[in-house]
Structures are given as C-alpha cells and as structure tokens.
C-alpha cells in the first residue's frame, strides 16, 4: 500500500472518494427518514388536510349561479349594468327558460337561497317565480316576468345577479367581516342590523383572552408550589392537576351544569347558608359566566403543566442569592423569579388561547346566547341555516388566527418541545 500523497483524494475502503461516499450516506439517511415519515404524512394529507382544503374552497365557490341559470348568465355578461337600463328581451327570455328548467328539476330554490345571502328577498322572488313560470308559454317575457313579480323590473335585481354570476366569489368572506359587495358602490359595510360577525370574533377573542388570564392567575401559584415542594409531595399533588386533564370534557361540562344551574349545588349552598334569598338565585349558566368558569376549569391544566416544567428548571439558588444580597423577598420574586418563568407563561398562554378560541362543546352546553363562540356559529351555519359558504369563510378566518398563533408558539417554544402530561 502506498502512503497517502498530499493532494490525493481520500477514499473509503471500497475505493470511492470519501466525499462522494459521505454524500451518498447522507442521501441514504435522508431517504430512509423520509420513507419512515411518508406513511403518516400521506395519511394526514388524505384524511385531514385535503378535507380542510376542500371545505375552505367552499368559501369561494359560486358555481351554483352559472349552473342554475347558464343562459341568462351568458347574456348578462354583455349587459352594461351601470347604464341604468334593464337588460333586453333576450336576457328575460333566457331567464325564463332557465327558471323553467330549474323549476322542473326542483333546484332553482337553492339559487334563491344563495342570492338571498347577498340581498334579502331574493329567496322569495325565486320561489314565487318558480311556482308561476311554468305556465308561461310565449313572450314577451319581460312583461310576463315583471307581472309575476315586479322586482324583475328593478334594475338592482339584475345588477345583483350579474355581480354574483362568476364561478368564484369573495362574497362569503366579505359577509364574514360584516362587509358586502354592492353592485353599484363596490365593497361597503354591511347594513347595521346585519353586522354580527366582527362582534362575534371580538367576543370570542376577548373571552378567550379572559380565560387565558384567569388560568394564568390560578395556575401560577400552584405551579410554583408544585415546583418548590419536595418531589414526593409534588408528585402526589400533580395528580390533582392531571386528573382533570384526563377526564372527559363532557364529564367536566356536565358537572359544571350540575354546579351552576339555578337549582344546582352552588345556588343551593348559598341559599342554605343564608347568603342568598330563595327568590334571588344567581344566574350562572346559559350566559358568559357559565362559559368562562367552565372553560377556565377545563383549560387550567394546559397552563399549569408548561409553567411547572419551566419553573422546575429554575434553580432555587437564584432567589436565595437575591435575598441574601438584601433584596426584599417580594421584590426578588418579581425581579428574578417571574422573568425566568416568562417562557412558561408564553407557552401555556398561547396553548390555552389557541384551544379556547376553537371551543365548541362547552359554550354550546353552558353558554346560552351571550356566551357562544364563533365555532358555534360555524356549526349553526353548517347544520341549520345551511349557509355552508359562510361557514367555510368563518372557519377560514378562525383557522388563520389559530395558525398565526401556532407560528408564534413555534417561535417561542418550538413545536419540538411540546410536551404532554
């Protein structure tokens, strides 16, 4: 074997250059790890991410208009809506043909419902017209339609249809932030009595912030206690935090119903000891108080556990050093201890906040109408009003807030460092 010469390429046992070999090993390592991750990745994409993307698409989908009245939509594209003139007889004739087809297939009312989201009265217009349009045999269709309902002679009706005829729309998103697309004026604020969602987002955020603050206030002392007690005692006490954590959400919500209602345990106790009169029992459920109390209880462990794990790493010597250097214990606590726990407060705070703003079950059961969250409205639009586009748009906005907080959480804590239990 010859001795290595300066400048010669290092090789491995099989004669390949070391660099190349290392590169190959690295590529192999990468491939192996990706192969291990791939099954779960595909699983999550198919069962979770695609459904969410699919739902969010509904927030902009508007194909229903061009599918239900294709001929009228095609002709309306050439009509100048701003001109102040009603569309011509051709458009009316196309509309009648479309309405007749839709009335026979019984699908036209879905279109009325869709347009009603933009302007009230459209649903009844289409309903009424669908009932009578089948009897129309020959033109002139303009007079005939106007006779069925004089709103067909109103230029605004046609402007609205034209405005909302493209296959995609921002209409739902505008509604979700209390705006609307006016055919004449462009994007304007919603009429006063129809503005609800900004308020609702505001309430959701504000109540979540309040709940987060309450969990911090309640969680900080016990996390501190747990972190400073001897391990044996703290291991026992932490059970009291973990048991609620592992107990079913419905169980905990149920028990709050039992505690808070008018004939419930708390009111009974207050009446029994004479603090309350039997006639003046407190209303603590089916309102904001119910939501805030129950959710604070349910989310408290999510605050205590991150705080506790951060506090455990703070050496007690810091405080002792500060005190022995002459600081007042309270001052030392505020100046030395508290700043060291900021990461724990951040982690717990963001976690609780993220979980809180998406809550559905607890507000639905104990929140009444003043303690409901945006999630409850999404569920309501899915299952009762059937305004799925608006539900998707509201969901998208909620998701955007959550993802922004998720990124913040990643910055502060790192997703890798997320711990459970």
């Amino acid at each position: 074997m010859e001795s290595a010469q300066p400048g010669a390429i290092l090789t491995t046992a099989d004669g390949a250059p070391l660099k190349q070999s290392l590169g190959r090993a690295l590529r192999r390592e990468k491939t192996v790890s990706l192969l291990l991750v791939a099954p779960l990745f595909l699983f999550i994409v198919v069962t979770f991410l695609i459904p969410i993307a699919d739902m969010l698409l509904r927030g902009v989908d508007n194909k229903i208009v061009s599918e239900q009245i294709p001929r009228a939509v095609a002709l309306l594209a050439e009509w100048d809506g701003g001109g102040g003139e009603l569309p011509g007889e051709a458009v009316f004739s196309a509309m009648v043909a479309d309405l007749q087809k839709g009335a026979k297939a019984k699908t036209i009312n879905r279109l009325g419902k869709r347009l009603n989201y933009e302007k009230s009265g459209m649903s009844s217009l289409f309903r009424k017209s669908a009932r009578r349009v089948l009897r129309l045999k020959e033109g002139p269709y303009r007079e005939a339609l106007v006779k069925i309902d004089r709103r067909w002679g109103d230029i605004q009706t046609w402007q609205l249809i034209k405005t909302f005829s493209p296959p995609y729309t921002g209409g739902y998103f505008l509604t979700a932030v209390d705006m609307r697309l006016d055919p004449a004026e462009g994007i304007v604020r919603q009429q006063e009595d129809r503005r609800i969602y900004l308020n609702l987002f505001g309430r959701t955020l504000w109540l979540s912030a309040l709940i987060t603050l309450l969990t911090l206030l309640l969680g900080y002392p016990i996390a501190y206690l747990l972190a400073t007690l001897p391990t044996r005692t703290s291991n026992l006490l932490i059970i009291l935090v973990l048991l609620p954590f592992w107990t079913s959400l419905l169980v905990r919500t149920t028990s709050w119903i039992a505690l808070l209602q008018q004939e419930g345990v708390i009111n009974d106790v207050l009446v029994a000891v004479g603090i309350l009169d039997n006639d003046s029992r407190l209303a603590m459920i089916h309102n904001r108080i119910g939501t805030v109390v129950a959710m604070t209880h349910i989310l408290l462990p999510f605050m205590v556990l991150p705080l506790y794990s951060v506090m455990k790493t703070i050496p007690p010597s810091y405080m002792r050093a500060a005190v022995s250097l002459g600081a007042h214990p309270a001052l030392a606590f505020l100046r030395i201890y508290v700043p060291n726990t900021v990461p724990g407060m951040g982690a717990g705070g963001i976690l609780v906040f993220i979980l809180a703003i998406g809550y559905y079950i607890t507000p639905a059961l104990v929140g009444g109408s003043s303690g409901t969250f945006i999630s409850n409205f999404i569920a309501n639009h899915i299952s009762s009003t059937l305004n799925w586009g608006l539900a998707a748009a509201l969901g998208m906005l909620l998701l955007a807030i959550v993802l922004a907080l998720y990124l913040l959480y990643d910055r502060i804590v790192g997703i890798d460092n997320m711990k459970l239990g």
Binding site: W246, S255, V265, L399, L420
Partner: protein, 283 residues
C-alpha cells in the same frame, strides 16, 4: 412547619395565605369532578343534593342510574362502538405515528420543522373546522356515517400525540449505539429490537393511551362524521345532555372518571419508567 429563625411574621403569614390560595385552586380543579360521584347515587332525578342525601338517609341513595346504564341498549351500543372505534383508531395512529417519529428523530431530515408542523396540525386546528371539513369530504367519498370513516378521522386526531411522545423518548438518543451494535455483528433488525424498541416503548404506549383517550372522549367530529350507528359514549352523553339530563349521565361520568384514573396512572408509571431507562432522574 418549621421556619428558619430569620423569617418575619409577615412572611410566615404570607406562607399560610399562599398555601390557602393554592388549596383553593386545587379545590377548584378537583371539586367539580368529585362532586359528580355522590350525585350519581341520587335516588331522585335531580342534579343536586337532596335533604335525604345530606342526612345520610339510605333511602336518599340508590343504584338506579347505574342499573339504567347497564340495562339500556343505547348505552350498551355506545360502549361497544366506543371500544371498537377507539381500539382501531389507536392501533392505526400508533403504528403510523411511531414510524414517523423514528423518521423525524434521525439526524438528517429535510424540512424537519415543516413536516413536524404539518403532522401536529390535527391537534391545533379547531375541532369544529376539522369536523366540518371531514363531514363534507367524507360524504363525498362515501365514508360519512361509516365505522371506517370515524376510525380514520379519530386516528388522524390521535397521531400528533404519538408523534410527540415517541419523539420525546428519542431526544438525546445516541445514534452511535445502534451503529455500534451493527458493527459488532448484530443485524439491523436485531439492533432495532434490542436497542430502539425498549427505549421508545414507554413513549409508544403512553402515546397510544393519549390516542385512545382522544378517540374515547371525542364528540365534535363524531357528531358530524358519524351517524347513530356509530354512536359512542360521548355522542350519547352529548345528546343526553341536550335531551334529558337524567342522572344516568352522572353515572356514566363517574365510570368515565374511573377510566381516566386508570389511564392517568398507567401514563405516569410509564413516564417515570421511561425517564429511569434513559437515565434521567427527577431532581
């Protein structure tokens, strides 16, 4: 309690006040759970303590709500469904999650944080959004209202927990150990089973328990993705609370509290065992 001689009376007072505050918070945490237990033995259909109960009159107590639970067909169906759905979704979540965690814990993973963020997302996305998305999409592919649909949905929700717990057991793992084993002649499979498996096993099991409880407690997604044929215990409880709040729900709640106690104990034991295995001792 012994205080060092230099403590001031104010500090001593504060010490007790602090303990009382903590006691109150612990009480707040645990009381709502404990209070359900005696209420579930109520002999009348009320949600509160009756005079007979308070005076410890045996007539004030009864097992009728438990009897109701154990004889009701609806509840039996719910228990069976919950067990089947939780079991299969846990198996699926654990298998996929463990593999992925092994992959993510290797030294060179391209786009590691992005991958991790995506895989954890089912835990972060508000349940109502997941539920609605799955409702629409699963309807489209004929999975809505089927056991398979519900199991897939619950498995998706459970995987983040497995990924997190298993990854945690591999933090700080010295990969040269497996290389050493292989270079000493062990087959890669043998090295895997002898070195990696014992190490991650506590994490895998506690991840599986988390996935199990996720499915076992889940109510939002099942309301949308399932139908009455897949009714689980939480489904039955939720419709019960909205239908007719009979103390049967409290009896079920008491049984569920026992289940969660068992799960909690197992997870705690596993965690401590895992820490011991990796040589981490609690300070």
């Amino acid at each position: 309690m012994k205080f060092p001689p230099y403590t001031t009376p104010l500090e001593r007072l504060w010490h007790y006040v602090f303990r009382i505050i903590c006691g109150a918070v612990f009480f707040f945490l645990i009381f709502p759970i404990v209070v359900i237990i005696p209420l579930s033995f109520n002999s009348v259909p009320f949600f509160t303590f009756t005079d007979a109960m308070l005076s410890f009159d045996p007539a004030g107590y009864s097992l009728r709500w438990y009897q109701d639970f154990f004889t009701s067909l609806n509840w039996q169906r719910a228990v069976e469904n919950s067990a089947v759905i939780a079991l299969f979704s846990t198996l699926l979540a654990t298998a996929l999650g463990t593999l992925a965690a092994l992959g993510l814990s290797r030294r060179h993973v391209p786009l590691r944080t992005t991958l991790m963020a995506l895989l954890i997302s089912p835990m972060i996305v508000p349940l109502i959004i997941s539920a609605c998305g799955m409702f629409f999409f699963y309807s489209r592919v004929n999975l809505q209202g089927t056991f398979i649909g519900v199991i897939l949905a619950h498995a998706a929700l459970g995987t983040p927990f497995v990924v997190i717990t298993v990854t945690a057991t591999l933090v700080g793992f010295d990969h040269s150990l497996t290389r050493a084993a292989v270079s000493l002649g062990a087959s890669p499979a043998r090295a895997f089973f002898k070195i990696i498996v014992p190490l991650i096993l506590p994490g895998v099991i506690s991840g599986a328990l988390f996935a199990f409880i996720t499915s076992f407690d889940e109510v939002v997604v099942i309301l949308f993705v399932g139908t009455v044929e897949q009714r689980t215990i939480p489904w039955q409880m939720f419709s019960g609370i909205r239908e007719q709040i009979s103390p049967t729900i409290l009896a079920v709640a008491t049984l569920l509290i026992i289940v969660s106690m068992l799960l909690l104990t197992s997870v705690e034991m596993l965690r401590r065992r895992g820490e011991k295995l990796r040589g981490i001792t609690p300070q």
